[in-house]
Subunit: 698 residues, 2 copies
């Protein structure tokens, strides 16, 4: 499917439809870029009003363009585009890149135009990039269909972006710094080719070692997870996701039902796919570049080699904040360092060679620490001083790094004086950063990725033998209710094997007592009413009733008070439930995400859920391993493991409950939300039991 | 005291002792810098081996240097320095800046040399900067005593640094970018002049609008807090503190007693002094520069004016993460924007003028949003495109910003193409950043500082009428014990008015019952033993004993079991205490910090303290306002306010307990740690009561 995408980057010939001879027009700039960066295929400007542009013969229409031509780049007013796409199809093209805007992003009319283009393209089995984008660059074939000024250096980062502006900015930021790219793709509206298609394509591309992406929205979440979890087993994917704040606000929403905002789904999806999340544009390329030129660290022990203490302290803070530590140098290493460093140098880690450190000292010290078996990775820091030639140091450091299989990154803390040294290092495939703080973030990301590779891929979700017919009947009987309370959702949950405390519906005080006798004292009474959602707040719960008299009395009082307080509410009766044994209160839930599907939630229950919003998320389908990761991401997970000498709780029972709830959510897409809250978790081997539950339908 | 510091920056004459005619020497570089940046005073090289250096007459010794001379800069081997300092004193100098290393930082011998220099200087009432530093720059007088290559632009950031390397790096990073400084001071070992002295000095300096500092350690914490809390009322202090990670590790230590690591003290001190904390070198100058050229925002409503959506989305995320929001533009503003922007432009906030936005459109749109009463501050984003002339835009934006009293910052997301535009903006006093993510951090810091200025200065700590003589007797009677348990620390705490649950010491089962009868059932028994610190873990606590039989039995069982389990422990008896009513469990404590003194702690009590490490810190002395701020920084504070319809708890009682504990800590410097844990807090008006307490002496 995505093999055809090669036509966007290495076509035998490319037509520019809407080419202009006016140097003030974007299309002129595109044509110029097409022929300026070494592209060896044929380039055909198409414009009925011109004979020749930039020395190239201009054709009146795509139908008259000679062979070979695989790709059309279209820059025409939106209303004219569908017709041109049709012509491209007739001409037998494989790929169309629509640069022009004026489509979905401007409203209904544009949306219709976009839909027509897509329909035509799929009729001809052509692939479409855009519309509303700034084109693509293949740094190997040299084909550049953008109007961006300049190109990045050639290397192995494949960059895809849902913002054309970010593409332009990034070129300006990285150009001339030796940060090498394989592809640059502006994806625009993604009418056809999506970020996931391009991830699949870049995965197969041998020039690409790292996939970097700027993402605003992922439309097919489940496919993204499927593809990304496979790709990240071969190459890293680093993503900067914009639009964190809206969803962030939703995530801190005070009632538990709305904890699972959409950003939680993105975070969960990225995490369970092994995607590296960058928090800033700078980080996106800091991390991607290091991954594209350096090996992965096998552990978290860093050695710092520096000519100054302050920046080394800042770097140490940053390393610590990202899960790395300063490794202990062996006695042997220290003795070797002592041999050639000045007496006042510090041979513990950080190795501080002081302001006068020479390029040779840098090289020898770096070699020493890289050979130390207690060190997994090195960070070399140099502050410019009048005693230092940064380029000489850079050369020595780079050459030494190349000889080691351990990763090395360098911090040259300056600007004016380090430009050339940066290029030297980058040419030698050693990433250089300006600030010591960047090092921690980069090594942290590399280490996390290494750990992802070290875990076995998550397997399939286990099947559960729910009686699907019975479940359907149970669902049908409640599907007219939008907010389904405990009494009505219980049968469906139980069919899926989700453990719930025994409960009986009573419609009178006498019936309550009968049930209590059967269930055993003490019991709880809980109102059953489709109109009372917050039972506890409304006074619809009575706990610890230990005699028939107390049960009878509680029933009558509750009914009278609720009838008075909520005259319009339908009071269907009460659930009679035995009081539960002691356990840890957690919450297990699902909220359906429009992009990603069932988003499973686990967290601390009770009053603390609101106070600490201690929750973690994963997208279903998921397996036990992923559910366990989710649980142990939270403080509640630590609580279940046992703190202060408590016995560990039955985490397996929680995993089982999460998986069963996930299966339910996958089987019934009409369920928008469902939660068991609290789920009471007992000691290991003693299971868990839900004390309350609810669901909301779409 | 600090008035004399002017001699370091604007001396009538300066001698360089140890001047060299060898261009490869640092001292040659210093002399060159001294005469290269417009310094108008006299410059005297001192070196017995030279007649003239760099065209200046060279003197054999400081005693022969003619008038006027106020400052000596010394760069000689450490052992030679004390004698020279003596000579400077005799010559009548006011100030000595010792550049040379080889002092305290190299060990005991160097420490002695440093001490001698300090003694000599103070005998002559000379002030001393250094040793082990890279000198100072006054960008107004032009005196530059460093060997750093280049100087920053002139402006109003006063920068002081405990790392010379950071000074050098920063000059390289900022030079030529229009980021203006008033002073650059490398403080070295701070033998005499400290960061706090320089903060006092810069506070009085009229060229300095912002004090920026790189700090590794503050030796006199209480003085720093006193000075900084006053200075920040006049000018902002922005500090980057290195060495966060060691203490960070201490802060996550699992037992509550060691929660108060030293970094907690720094954080607390900075917070209660109104100091702005920068997390990275880049942030230190991003924030300082904005504060030095722009007015403060009066609120958190930002308008974004941009030519591209992606970077605006990233900026919005960053603003949201830092407590700012996108303001709603008025209908009037939107109508005005609609008048001149292209039809497809977005006139909601962010105002997206699309890729073709002209300099005029930037100026008019910025003017519109700045005039909107619903907007407090503006962020202008421009991504370089082939259609944009960044310098023209920069000029228009800068001129428009200058006409408004609201702050404006600009993001030009590029590198190569925006260098000139940056200088244009900076000349017009509008800070420019490369990445949209920087904007949120800067505006967040500015807003927090504005809020600090809006709060009234914290007043004095209230006095408490503890019977000092009785307290001293109580203290004396336990001071032989290092770890003081509840039974022994109770009298001292009670003398300071700290509320504790009633308790009686019983040395037999019969006595226990007698006390229980008096206190009222049910009661708790708690072992009293200097050798059993963790009573609960050891089995030394029995709760809820409701009859004389149960009390008697519990006493005997406890004594037998403990005697068997801890054969060497001295078992002095038990405390008999009534069971407390229900309340919120919090912890109130103090840990003495070597730099800052009594570090007060407040947090969530019980099992959750370990799970969530939900604690906040302040340095004593503190007043009720500061104590309240500390409380409400925690989740426990929110719990006390009342969640889920609970009644608010007695926060005043907690404040009172914190202040009394602080007074105790100030009165008895021998107490290293003391805590009341748990402190049980009842409903508003019903007070609080400590259920357990302990102390550790130094």
């Amino acid at each position: 499917m995505t093999d055809k995408l090669i036509n966007f980057f290495k076509p035998r010939g490319v037509a520019l439809i809407g080419a202009s001879s006016n140097p003030g027009k974007l299309s002129y700039g595109i044509l110029k870029n097409m022929i300026s960066y070494g592209y060896q295929g044929s380039v055909y400007p198409v414009n009925p009003g011109n004979q020749e542009i930039l020395g190239l013969k201009c054709y009146p229409s795509i139908s008259e363009v000679p062979d070979p031509v695989d790709l059309a780049v279209v820059i025409l007013p939106a209303p004219a585009v569908p017709e041109v796409v049709e012509a491209c199809g007739q001409r037998g093209l494989q790929a169309v890149n629509i640069i022009s805007g004026g489509f979905r992003e401007v409203g209904a009319e544009g949306y219709e135009l976009e839909k027509r283009c897509l329909e035509i393209a799929s009729r001809y089995q052509m692939r479409l990039i855009g519309p509303n984008c700034v084109g693509t660059m293949d740094l190997y074939s040299g084909l550049n269909t953008t109007f961006i000024r300049g190109v990045p250096d050639t290397g192995s980062i494949g960059f895809i972006s849902q913002s054309g502006a970010v593409c332009g900015a990034v070129v300006d930021l990285v150009a001339g710094k030796g940060i090498g790219f394989s592809y640059f793709v502006s994806m625009g509206n993604e009418a056809d080719v999506t970020e996931t298609d391009l991830i699949e394509f870049l995965n197969k591309d041998e020039n690409t070692r790292v996939i970097a992406a700027y993402v605003e929205a992922i439309s097919d979440g489940p496919r993204f997870i499927r593809v990304a979890s496979q790709v990240t087993r071969h190459k890293p994917i680093v993503i900067l996701k914009a639009g964190h704040s809206d969803a962030g606000a939703r995530a801190v929403s005070s009632h538990t039902g709305s904890l699972a905002g959409s950003i939680a789904a993105y975070d969960a999806a990225f995490r369970q796919s092994g995607v590296i999340v960058a928090n800033t544009v700078a980080e996106l390329f800091d991390i991607s570049f290091a991954l594209s030129v350096q090996p992965l660290p096998v552990g978290n022990r860093v050695a710092i080699v520096t000519n100054s203490g302050g920046p080394a302290a800042l770097a140490s803070d940053s390393l610590a904040a990202n899960g790395l530590q300063l490794g202990d140098l062996s006695l042997d290493t220290k003795a070797k360092l002592r041999e050639f460093l000045v007496p006042s140098a510090q041979v513990n880690n950080p190795v501080d060679m002081l302001g006068g450190a020479t390029p040779e000292e840098y090289a020898r010290a770096l070699e020493c620490v890289l050979k130390d078996p207690g060190i997994d990775t090195a960070l070399v820091i140099q502050v410019p001083t009048s005693l230092v030639n940064p380029v000489e140091s850079a050369t020595k450091i780079g050459e030494t790094a190349a000889k080691s299989e351990k990763p090395v990154i360098v911090c040259l803390m300056g600007d004016a004086s380090i430009q050339e040294a940066r290029n030297t290092l980058h040419r030698l495939k050693v990433p250089m950063y300006v600030y010591p703080e960047q090092a921690g973030r980069v090594y942290g990301a590399m280490l996390n990725y290494k750990r992802w590779l070290d875990t076995s891929p998550a397997g399939e979700m286990p099947g559960f033998s729910a009686d699907r017919q019975m479940a359907q009947r149970q669902f049908d009987s409640v599907k007219a209710i939008k907010n389904i309370g405990e009494a009505h959702i219980r049968p469906l949950l139980q069919t899926y094997g989700i453990p719930l405390i025994p409960a009986e519906l009573a419609r009178s005080a006498e019936e309550s007592v009968r049930h209590a006798e059967k269930l055993g004292y003490p019991v709880a009474l809980k109102i059953v009413s489709p109109d009372i959602l917050h039972k506890s707040d409304a006074g619809g719960i009575r706990l610890n009733l230990s005699t028939p008299q107390l049960v009878e009395q509680a029933y009558q009082e509750m009914m009278e008070k609720l009838a008075a307080a909520f005259p319009d509410a339908r009071l269907e009766g009460v659930l009679v439930e035995p009081m539960a044994a002691k356990g840890h209160e957690v919450i297990v839930g699902m909220k359906r995400d429009p992009q990603f599907g069932p988003l499973m939630m686990f967290g601390l229950g009770g009053v603390y859920v609101e106070l600490f919003t201690d929750v973690a998320f994963r997208v279903a389908p998921l397996n036990a391993q992923t559910a366990l990761e989710m649980i142990f991401e939270t403080k509640a997970g630590k609580l279940l493991k046992g703190v202060r000498g408590q016995k560990p709780a039955d985490v397996e029972a929680v995993v089982d409950c999460i998986l069963r709830l996930a299966q339910l959510a996958l089987d019934f897409p009409e369920i928008a939300e469902v939660e068991v809250n609290p789920l009471l978790v007992f000691e290991q081997g003693k299971g868990a039991t839900g004390l309350d539950a609810r669901a909301i339908l779409l």
